[in-house]
Symmetry: C2
Subunit: 469 residues, 2 copies
């Protein structure tokens, strides 16, 4: 392994401006939005084609240089943070929308296209892309981490939208994992395997994705409840009723307080559901009546609907700005966001547990959740200079994940594993972790693809459980 020889070989097929050893560029490409820290990448490359990506991987394979793929660095568990000397591949120059097929309701894009860039293009055709993780991430990154968000309760997660990926393997070989067909029972399901594989099996160079017609009618609303339990139980009933919920977000007392303070809103500071429904006007009018009946059974204190776009956008903007409300509210502290997903029948208990732990461990934080999926986040604001507080935050995280796993949930509903959650993989998967490691070993025998992420190396399942700073 010689980085110098590797970088020299890059010059054989890349232009000068596609290779950067500049310290600032390297540092910018060695962090994400999480609190995880690692080492600094040796070199950043900017491929403009699949062929160039293939050449980079082939060279990395030859010189045994670790490879970290990079979109816009919005990951939340250290996915793009180098754990050793490596090359970082920045895909933002591969950012073309290659094909929009309204008849097939699919689109073909390069990995550096962002969510908002795609939606701007799709709007011309009356279409939209459904996955909204909050950040304006690249679609390559969203596929690599199996992103999801507020609309997943209706339209599904990133994995549900992927028809085909073009992937460059460790060797430089290029494969396609699927087709343009809406469904298939042919072969092993490589689409599903590569989505969420966090760069440890290959680099995504093209995506064919499912898109949707913009709904005829959209309606948003807010419902307040005396307790988190009541709010969650109301959502369970709404889901069972078949009412077409497009989004349903829970905000707890502390989150609403933070929101009101920093967004100048005046929401009641009690457990609240932010909701959205897609359908036609007559159908939604009937649903509203039914909904009011359902939520009243769970002592809903007030329910209000808005149908005009400006009001609807204001509601979701407030929700999306929740994290920033915390960040701006606590200068000098760093956000540490957890992400557990439990069976929905366990959600109220899990949220209550989180609130109790926050109070017991004397931590600053609020709970918010995609309750339709049983997925929730706790936004903690941590003083990274305070070792003792960091230890308490770590205890909190451990306790929350353990609570979720004991109830047959998962350690991460949407943020992914990256560096931060590898230590929980053995507890979550048991013997199945061995199967994952076998697949990794078969497809990346030298272990050059994003090492130190997603899967603990064989025989190395117990990671130190401290927050690096």
């Amino acid at each position: 392994m010689s980085v110098t020889a590797f970088v020299e070989s890059l010059h054989e097929f890349l232009q000068k401006d596609q290779i950067s050893e500049n310290e600032t560029v390297r540092e910018q490409h060695s962090v994400d939005e999480s609190y995880h820290k690692g080492s600094i990448t040796q070199v950043v490359v900017f491929p403009r084609s699949t062929e160039e990506t293939s050449q980079i991987l082939a060279a990395a394979s030859k010189h045994v240089i670790p490879v970290v793929p990079f979109g816009l660095g919005t990951s939340l568990e250290g996915h793009v943070v180098p754990m050793q000397e490596c090359v970082t591949i920045d895909f933002t120059e591969m950012n073309a929308v290659l094909e929009v097929s309204p008849d097939d309701l699919i689109v073909k894009v390069q990995p550096g296209v962002t969510r908002s860039q795609l939606n701007k293009e799709l709007k011309k055709h009356g279409l939209f892309f459904s996955v909204d993780p909050g950040a304006d991430a690249t679609l390559g990154g969203m596929a690599a981490t199996n992103a999801s968000g507020t609309t997943s309760v209706r339209y599904g997660i990133m994995r549900d939208q992927v028809r085909d990926l073009e992937v460059v393997l460790a060797s430089g070989e290029v494969i396609h994992t699927g087709s343009k067909a809406a469904k298939s029972s042919a072969g092993l399901h490589l689409n599903g395997l590569f989505v969420g594989s966090e760069g440890i099996l290959g680099c995504i160079t093209e995506l064919t994705l499912k898109v949707y017609g913009i709904p005829e009618y959209e309606m948003a609303g807010r419902a307040t409840f005396p307790s988190v339990e009541n709010a969650v139980q109301a959502v369970v009933s709404l889901l069972q009723s078949g009412i077409p919920i497009a989004r349903v977000e829970l905000l707890d007392e502390i989150s609403l307080k933070q929101l009101n303070h920093h967004q100048k809103t005046d929401y009641p500071e009690i457990p609240t559901l932010f909701m959205e429904f897609h359908g036609n006007e007559a159908g939604l009018a009937q649903d509203v009546d039914f909904m009011k009946e359902i939520v009243s059974m769970y002592d809903c204190e007030a329910i209000e609907f808005v149908t005009n776009n400006a009001e609807r956008n204001r509601l979701w903007e407030a929700r999306h700005n929740l994290a920033y409300s915390f960040i701006h509210g606590y200068p000098g502290r760093k956000m540490m966001v957890t992400d557990v997903c439990v069976p929905i029948s366990e959600l109220a208990g899990a949220v209550r547990h989180a609130q109790e732990q926050l109070s017991e461990l004397n931590l600053i934080g609020g709970v918010t959740g995609h309750v339709g999926d049983g997925n929730f986040h706790v936004i903690l604001m941590i003083d990274l200079a305070d070792e003792e507080e960091k230890a308490r935050a770590n205890t909190f995280n451990e306790s929350l994940v353990a609570y979720g796993l004991e109830r047959n949930g998962t350690s991460t509903g949407e943020h992914g594993v990256g560096y931060g959650k590898q230590k929980y993989m053995e507890q979550e998967f048991g013997a199945a972790l061995g199967v994952m490691q076998q697949i990794k070993a078969a497809l990346d025998p030298q272990g050059i693809l994003n090492p130190g992420k997603l899967l603990p190396a064989k025989g190395e399942n117990v990671y130190e459980s401290v927050i690096k700073s």
Copy 2:
């Protein structure tokens, strides 16, 4: 490899009545509903628990005996047909519904539970399981082949319903592929990998599946069109409009003729869509107006709706009996059903191509399709004693698959690969087939799991392309 020693070892942990070497039993377990023929299994075992299944696999592994998992033998591409000496594991004695969780909208079942058995149980809770492949298959078999059917356009395919599988690996080791959480970004996506793996990676011993609330209101309808092109284009527009189509099936002239003749129905014998919509009454009333507007743009000749259950059931019963109408209409001939899925923009052309080829090759058959997914079947009625006719049927199949693959479709939308479609895997997947073979080799190094199915063995990609009889 000694079958005798293997069978002897089975007696160490199974009861006598769980092991059958009876010739009739063996023969019954060596065929499916397809025209594919192989050899006769050596022994059939009937495990009653995961532990027994694990012991069977461990013994098979030790004695290097091929293993074929078996549900009710309703597969359509020879999935359960032995290709060499083997043990067949019949899972029908593992047929308990283990858990129904209405709050979580999930159910846990053993692999031998059938679709109708599950729905009978779920009805008590106001719930239903969505995947309907026609046959009353076992859920283990449906997961193994990634089944789908008429309702997939709304609720998704089998893979979309699986939250967790308990799987016994070749070694006898037991793993869980997921959790009860509605979504997860942890680990590699083993759920998706094992669904549709046709028994070549492991045997499914338990399934946790997503279920749905029975819709408030269901409405079915029929619309007739002057051509297949017009019918398909109308479906594209309906999909883009966001109208909640729960089923949309195309029947061609010949299929309707066959149906009328054998079901005593009097449907017009022109291209027809059978449709179903789920929602609330007011919403569907508004959708009907919109729908009429849309289909009229494609020269719809007549559109009729039924809302009472009896009439609705009659419509879908007719559709489900289509295959039997062909079978009963041609005694002495064997049904050979193809199954291609293309991007929907290519569907009209593909159906036209199929109709032309049927006529050119002088074959008896009709076209029917899940047009919302771009998936269609051609039901051929073949005289298996006529070698020349079999060759023409084979030419037809090859031509149809080639047409689909050239247009970025898939060789099978729902029936799976089994024995019958292995020969197309290299053409469909190219270099990605190598990745699938590497995964298979890593997880089943002795190659004992359902050999000769799904993936052509390495270096053996060109299969004889004849119909065995």
